[in-house]
């Protein structure tokens, strides 16, 4: 139980999940309106350091978890470069046999960093939020219906079971002679072979859980008490204000240095 060896819960984990979600959405929006890599880059750095210092995770572990995102980001940039390059629309910069305008290159890089920023913000959210609390705050703060919230919680509770089931079904199918990893076609089809049995079992589980919930009085009264609550405290509001202020500050500072351009530069006619 090393995970519980913290003396104090990290700051970010004590914040209201809905507030944090709002911040992630904010970051996504802010990062999506610019086509210069500077802003997303600053955002990535800020998120990274915030998570390491206030999120209770070491820089090394965070980097490790970011690796797949870096990979996706990179492949995206490469691909867009290919697509754009085929148009041969510019000649400012030459990469291999493709020519690009300065702005086009800049935009594409910005896109790559943007994806990274969004993924990192989400990762930070996932690391510092307990799904139980998330569902609770959705029900209490965002007025999501109780049934939907607890249904989602039940589904979350089944995740380890579902993973074991997936492994077991795979083994069972292999024993019957289906070769999962041999050849490209098999690899492509394999997730679908899982689908039908797992969906059938899922529907059955769902029916049973629903009956159990009904038998425990769900719907007995319109109002409902809560054993544990999540609330929006001053701390949460402060955090939100800080994040908003940071975003505004960042935009202003970068604009001053000409590193912030609203919208896609290409729309401004600078093809």
């Amino acid at each position: 139980m090393d995970k519980n060896a913290y003396v104090r819960t990290p700051y970010l984990s004590t914040l209201n999940p809905v507030v944090k979600l709002l911040c992630v959405v904010l970051v996504t929006v802010v990062v999506s309106v610019t086509s210069v890599p500077a802003l997303p880059l600053c955002m990535v750095a800020a998120t990274f350091f915030l998570t390491v210092f206030c999120g209770g995770i070491s820089a090394a572990s965070l980097l490790k978890r970011m690796l797949p995102f870096l990979g996706v980001s990179l492949s995206f940039v490469v691909f867009m470069l290919l697509l754009k390059g085929l148009e041969q629309a510019g000649s400012d910069v030459q990469i291999l046999m493709f020519g690009y305008t300065r702005t086009a290159l800049q935009t594409i890089l910005a896109l790559g960093v943007r994806i990274l920023a969004i993924s990192l913000a989400t990762l930070s959210f996932v690391i510092t939020t307990n799904p139980n609390d998330l569902v609770l705050s959705l029900i209490l703060q965002l007025r999501v219906p109780v049934v939907h919230g607890y249904a989602a919680l039940a589904a979350y509770r089944f995740l380890p079971t579902l993973k074991d089931e997936a492994k077991g079904i795979r083994l069972a199918q292999e024993i019957r002679g289906i070769e999962w990893n041999k050849g490209l076609i098999n690899r492509m089809l394999s997730p679908f072979r899982l689908m039908m049995p797992m969906l059938t079992l899922a529907a059955r589980k769902g029916e049973r859980v629903a009956l159990a919930m009904d038998s425990r009085g769900l719907g007995a009264s319109r109002t409902r008490t809560f054993y544990r609550r999540t609330t929006i405290t001053r701390r949460d509001i402060t955090f939100l204000i800080l994040v908003v202020a940071f975003c505004i500050l960042l935009i202003l500072v970068l604009a001053r240095f000409g590193l912030f351009v609203y919208g896609s530069a290409l729309e401004a006619g600078a093809v």
């Binding site: 990979g71 935009t107 969004i118 629903a210 290409l266």
Partner: protein
């Protein structure tokens, strides 16, 4: 027609959506080499598969709100299990669901083949809004964009519709579709 959700439907869709989320995560890993190679084109080809998270709940239950609920749960599970796209999948799921809900509402929640095809296409259009702004498709030329959209629509209309019908038929045969709204065709 009774259009309010029942506890059973909500819970079943939640767990079905979770399973779809698990399968998407497995797919992310299984298709890794291919998706890195083909990038966004791959996303268009597999659009029909990823449409499932919103399309299947809608087709199974045929009541308002389930496409959205299912899509959100699938997206959340996908993120939790380590998806490489982050909160984007929530947005994509929500937009797909919006498209599907719209078309289903027009068809009064009695989906026939036309409804299925259209809902997939409209979902594709809605998600395109996200792609335009966030993924920067605005930087690409019109020709390329139209091409990708075309692939997306075909994927939604063919794979999407096929998957949804096959899965529902399979679930019905396995006996887990009792007390869901029947198909009036």
């Amino acid at each position: 027609m009774e259009n309010k959700w029942k506890t059973r439907e909500v819970v079943i869709i939640a767990i079905v959506a979770a399973v779809i989320g698990v399968i998407y995560t497995i797919m992310d890993y299984a298709y890794m080499p291919l998706s890195a190679l083909l990038g966004p084109v791959f996303m268009e080809l597999t659009f029909g598969i990823y449409l499932l998270s919103a399309a299947l709940p809608a087709f199974i239950v045929r009541k308002p709100g389930f496409a959205l609920f299912g899509a959100l749960v699938t997206a959340a599970v996908n993120i939790l299990l380590g998806s490489t796209y982050g909160i984007q999948v929530v947005l994509a799921g929500a937009l797909q669901a919006a498209g599907i809900e719209l078309v289903y509402a027009i068809f009064k929640y009695k989906p026939n083949l036309l409804c299925l095809v259209f809902s997939g296409i409209v979902a594709g259009i809605f998600v395109f809004a996200r792609d335009y702004f966030v993924f920067g498709y605005s930087t690409l030329s019109l020709g390329v964009v139209l091409g990708m959209l075309a692939v997306r629509f075909v994927s939604a209309a063919v794979i999407g519709v096929l998957l949804v019908k096959v899965i529902r038929a399979g679930l019905k045969k396995a006996g887990v579709m009792k007390n869901f709204k029947p198909i009036e065709e």
